[in-house]
Subunit: 383 residues, 4 copies
């Protein structure tokens, strides 16, 4: 049991009624007791913002109708928020983050970074000119076994990496989305989601995870993206070939029209000395094969493993932890960085927390997929 | 998003440094934001109690050295605790619970009910004479797919139940426990754990789950229990045959000496019309076979399922939820019952929350296993 | 490629049209080209015997109406059969085997040994007074990974064995069998199948496999057997607790009324140093855990394994071999023993081929299950 | 039991000592008793040819030193071979097949068709001008569940096919092959294997399976192929994007350097109404999801399935059949076609047996992969 630390005062932009990811962020912030949600601009619709604030128990005077008023007032309050979670549709990320960053309020932002490259550049400027932290919730990087995988590869257990297979199939958009499905609605609207559909929503996760685990530098990609459902304005399936600067090659497949797949993020990495395989839906086990030996099942908090950070492991092996705990790990490490920052130390660079660079790389990934596909799957540089 | 409700003021007995289940209870209480931990008697060692209280951010005047002082003082405070979580070794459950129950403070108690039958009877009296709620954390009953299984069986989807196979293998006690392993130490000490070792620690979970899901009434059992590790004073493996009043038969195996098993609770139920299979380590999927049809994979929050209570499902299908969310479900439903009680309504009997009866049945299970085995596996009534 | 050897002339008793296991024996005998089927008494119904012989291409004068005529004439032929496969319902095994054994013709007999203990004693006498070999097709003992498991345990890899969990669930008799189902008909008829239903048909396999792999000596059992389907004259489900002389304990479950299970023979063995798990439906992989290390997946012909006899492995790892290859392994080793015998050497005792002793133990198992259950699950000695 | 038919007289070219696939063909030919191996030119080394013939029990005068003498003499014999299995390294396929085809002897040839396109054209001519059958052993098409998958897709169960994901990872060439490994030696030698390494050896299987199951017409591909092991002259990993004329898109990955994969052929197909998934290493189960319903596990010979041809199913569900049975299915259907041909009927076109067209498409696949990769993954037409 580590020493008690006062919870960080947290605000939230977006995440009102019917939102999916806002509720996830709130649970993630609560699990380890490191945050206290005290303010919010929870919806762009004032009525909904008010109702949502009330439902969350926020004080009326800290329930805002828009993020700008919130940033301005909270920055002035003696006990104003120290950090803000931005969980809006993508097209709002930049404008919202900027308001808090310029007032020194730390930002925990959902991915992808923004809805377009122009915004991404503005976001970069806002982050770089701010003294506050910027953390991007590429939550899948925080599963203990993913950390273990990264550690093993960095230690050379797999030898030089040759092949990276990553995929992220879902099926929820197999048919034309019902008009009243709020999630489907904005996620398939280029104005709110961005030019990438499946590439932005889940392809960025897959791409980020592959880079995170392998430590490789992406060089270029070629892509063939599709919108299989008639009338859909963004891609719902993407086939991507990847080249890394170190010589490894990869394949990425993301799809929202693959019936039988709920949230099938899966990573496989093969090197000259061994291979690993991991699937998000059963995140407590990872297969590892040292070439010439039987495959071993490494488990979260299980026997004979290291490389799993102790602070990210809440229960003994066999007690399955999942998506929410993985997400909470981001919030837990963010809390540590925020407190260090308040003490004048920059810890984010020492941690594995994703931030601006990962966000920019994700935006380049989406853009490259779209452009490559438009040019009949030409290779596009990611550098 | 439901209406906001003020968090319930929660105390904790046990759960200090190095404890396993105390930390689980605290996370479970935090996940949905329905509780606020404000007081504790976290250890029977005063120094440790103080240090643990501090580490959890409790006010010094609400960090108690013993549960009795805590019960007395909290009951008098205007803003005293409304509920208490009891997470001590088993032999303390009764005495602690009694102090709170008799002062009208709701009790959320870890299983098994007590360390012996005499205590169990006293506990029963304390519960029955109290106006406060008594909830026993048989947490595995709260996995959404377990609720679905129960619902399917109650609806007759499986026909008359014939065979119940339940097992709970672990391997952490395969060898003699190191002296400094606090968990192993009390869990294998009859004075603290009770006469049952594996039967009490995990067999009660397996037995409870089988009864919960099938809705059957246990009639009798015969058991062959063993202590394979030399010098161990309680059982570390148990083989049990079960008879149910409705005519079904079952087998229960629990073990703490089965290498390769981390926390392998597994339930299989077969009836005249179909069967189901579920494993705790992969709790987001359940196999269901209607006889004569292909096996179907039912998933948490997945397609084509019902019987999963909406309030227990925090994320869409494919976002694995696990042990902590299952545990949190107990706390969530308990909060609802506590608030109803405060409004003068008794809701517990309408819910599926385990309580005194389940605890007493668990004690009878342990006792019957020990007595049956001592009589060369004679049948012992559970009624 | 080993040296060519002339195929052994094989006869068959039983196995005519509609038979299941006869066809399996014929494929098993063909896979390695070590046998030539040249004679048969394929049915107890003469018309069917003739039609079946014709369908198999047997010469008309070697297609017999009954096994006795066949034994008499084949024994006199210069090129008469050297071995006979007996694949009739159980009640015919003894009488048929005796005719061949007493004429020096080697017998490969399906399990269980006979339909009752009196017959078993006569069979024992026939085998013991014959110079011919008697091989019982407990085919599951011949999967390469089962041999590997046996080898590992014999080598002490698992330490002293403590717990043996074996089960064999099926679902094909979940409902009352249709009258025209020949398989169901004789297998649920005590006059033809014997007193054991599921215990005889599949329980003997499970029991045999547990003994084979562990090398333990069964001491006693207690059983609770049921006939869940109304009107069924033999058991269709059995729960059995086992004690071994060396101190290990076990559980055996066999069922033919467990919907969702096709042929789910599964063995788990746990010792002081490790555990293994194997399932017949995915026979090319076995889990092995050395206590304190990650579980390893040992595969048929895979990396880092030994203990798999080379002659039983026909293809490289990853090319799944199954039930028929396992069965063929019995025939392959039997061919070796028959040829050695023809050269005056007794090899069977050096091999792991099951024979009379395994058959007698299986009969004791069935008998003990029935008697134990009749005495309310009393312990019955197996010695 | 169908009517008996005299075994077909079979010869073999290649398949001597140390060969892998020759032994597989022989077992496949034996399993159903439809062939009798009577002649062979088993090695290009006369001594080895003689020794191998002896080991297989061939008559000395039907053990040939070269395939041409064999073709000439067998064609003249009254009881000469009716069919020949060609199981040599790829560069010999054409010359050998031609000698038999032009003499009216049916050819069962291992894949890929030849080692280069020029040979493929000659092979095509030889096949087209012959009255004999030409069957290519794309054995994976004969697994019963693969037939079921094809049937389901043809019936529209999956709706219009959108996405095809096929992969075939192995790991046996992860390191530089030992010089004395005969299999590795010729399979990585362009002169014997052809320009494609992994693409030819296993990529052709994956490509063929995808086309077979979906019934789609391949339009074009782009590929990025690699030789990761230093000094290797052929590809050992290939990433391929596929386009089909009907609008579907696909990805194909084959690799021989992916540690932890033994023989991991895996096919996933997704359409507007559903999806299926199948893996070769566990070939007795296939996942099928009708969109909006739970995933169903279809099993070989299991409940609720159709589309599995009865003659390809030798045992009830739960009795795993594998690689050898799948291979035997080719031989079984080939026997039927050969006999029909002998009766003047052409049945091959009515069956699903692969032949020349599949072989030519495979050669175009290899060639396109190599050319596309040489042009930086340009799209290459497959028409």
């Amino acid at each position: 049991m580590s020493e008690f630390q006062r919870p960080i005062r947290l605000g939230m932009v977006g995440g009102g009624n019917d939102a999916f990811i806002g509720a996830v962020h709130r649970i993630a912030a609560r699990i380890d007791g490191q945050y206290e949600l005290v303010a919010g601009a929870l919806s762009s619709t004032p009525d909904k913002a008010q109702a949502s604030g009330k439902a969350l128990g926020l004080a009326p005077d800290r329930t805002y109708d828009d993020f700008k008023s919130m940033a301005i007032r909270e920055a002035r309050l003696k006990d104003g928020i120290e950090a803000v979670a931005i969980v809006t549709p993508n097209h709002v990320h930049m404008a919202a983050a900027r308001e808090f960053l310029k007032r020194g309020i730390h930002v925990i932002c959902d991915k992808p970074l923004t809805s377009n490259l122009a915004d991404a550049r503005k976001m970069a400027q806002a982050v770089e000119t701010s003294d506050a932290l910027f953390i991007l919730t590429h939550n899948y990087t925080s599963y203990p076994l993913i950390r273990q995988a990264r550690d093993m590869i960095a230690s050379g257990d797999l030898g030089d990496i040759r092949v990276v297979q990553v995929e992220y199939p879902q099926d929820w958009l197999t048919q034309a989305q019902p008009k009243d499905n709020k999630q489907a609605s904005w996620r398939t609207d280029p104005a709110r989601s961005g030019a990438g559909g499946s590439t932005g929503d889940i392809g960025t996760h897959a791409f980020n995870l592959a880079c995170f685990v392998t430590g490789l530098t992406p060089d270029s990609l070629c892509a063939d993206i599709q919108s299989f459902v008639q009338g859909r304005q963004v891609d719902d399936n993407a086939h991507v070939m990847l080249r890394f600067q170190e010589g490894a090659r990869g394949m990425l497949w993301c799809s929202q029209v693959a019936p039988g797949n709920e949230n099938g993020l899966r990573l496989r990495v093969y090197g000259a000395k061994g291979g690993i395989e991991w699937e998000q839906e059963t995140p407590n086990v990872m297969r590892h094969t040292a070439f010439g030996e039987p495959t071993r099942l490494l488990t979260r908090a299980g026997a004979g493993t290291d490389g799993q950070p102790e602070h990210l492991v809440r229960t003994p092996g066999g007690h399955p932890e999942g998506y929410l705990e993985g997400f909470a790990n981001i919030y837990l490490e963010a809390a540590e960085c925020i407190r260090a920052k308040q003490d004048g130390r920059d810890m984010q660079s020492e941690t594995l927390l994703p931030g601006l660079n990962e966000g920019l790389m994700g935006m380049r990934f989406i853009d490259a997929c779209v452009r490559s596909s438009a040019r009949n799957a030409a290779w596009i540089s990611l550098q």
